[in-house]
Symmetry: C2
Subunit: 175 residues, 2 copies
Amino acid sequence: MFIATSLDGYIADKNGGIDWLHAIPNPENNDMGYSAFTAQIDALVMGRNTFETVCGFDIEWPYQKPVFVLSNSLKEIPEKFKDHAVLIKGPLKDVLEKIHSLGHHRLYIDGGTTIQNFLKEDLIDEMIITIIPTLLGGGTPLFTELPNSLNFECIDTKIYLDQVVQNHFKRKHNL
Amino acid sequence: MFIATSLDGYIADKNGGIDWLHAIPNPENNDMGYSAFTAQIDALVMGRNTFETVCGFDIEWPYQKPVFVLSNSLKEIPEKFKDHAVLIKGPLKDVLEKIHSLGHHRLYIDGGTTIQNFLKEDLIDEMIITIIPTLLGGGTPLFTELPNSLNFECIDTKIYLDQVVQNHFKRKHNL
């Protein structure tokens, strides 16, 4: 996963807003490693919320890689987006097996709820977390309750725009 | 402040424990910048919880700098620790004025509740946060509700022991 959080770990503010993500001046549109990251992945897996948010953007479809939309409630992908995304249902382990069988191994898991569900089953190998250095003081947290603790290691850290820090964590199975 | 959190932002686990802080092998006792940090401060300000925890340690008094214990409930510093710590009460702004008037300007604010109370009044200038890269999945969070958002900037980042990342944030009054 590749995601931005506030300094206090939120992915959306108290009103569900994400304006704070873009509050830091970025005159040269530094993408903070996003395109280098997406160049390395085989496909995206996102939840319905994220998918519907992206569908609502008034821009061209932003992804070059196959997109799998996880949803047990959505009946089908809207006509307009059928060339872009595939609906996929069922237990996460089956979903992953299906996507792997299609030749997609390096998956970008996106969306708060989807990330949480993958973490609950220990299905996340890497997390690149960009910390926007604002304490929001409340909002939607990236991380929530987990049945078991999970050890990672920080393998890289970088500062962007003189103030944003990006930490790259990798799952570690032994201390 | 100089504090360690889990990757999901907790300072103590679901059972109040902090064993996970020391779970990463550290054969050379790397202090991850702690003594360099404390060399630069004039005094410590901690809450009663932290003070009582330190008093309970079966070691010599660990601080070389003056310690101010913030408490409205504690009547006095126990006899055994009177040479080490001074009790201080009242609104935080008055407390700070008092400590500053004694010539102590660079203060190390310690303890979860104390840090939260200082942040609520926007009285923290710098935060050095060491992230132990474990998702605990629950516990006591470092950051809680704030009345207003507060902007910081990350001015330094370092990796220790090949897996722990330490981010240094400084309060910023304008974006």
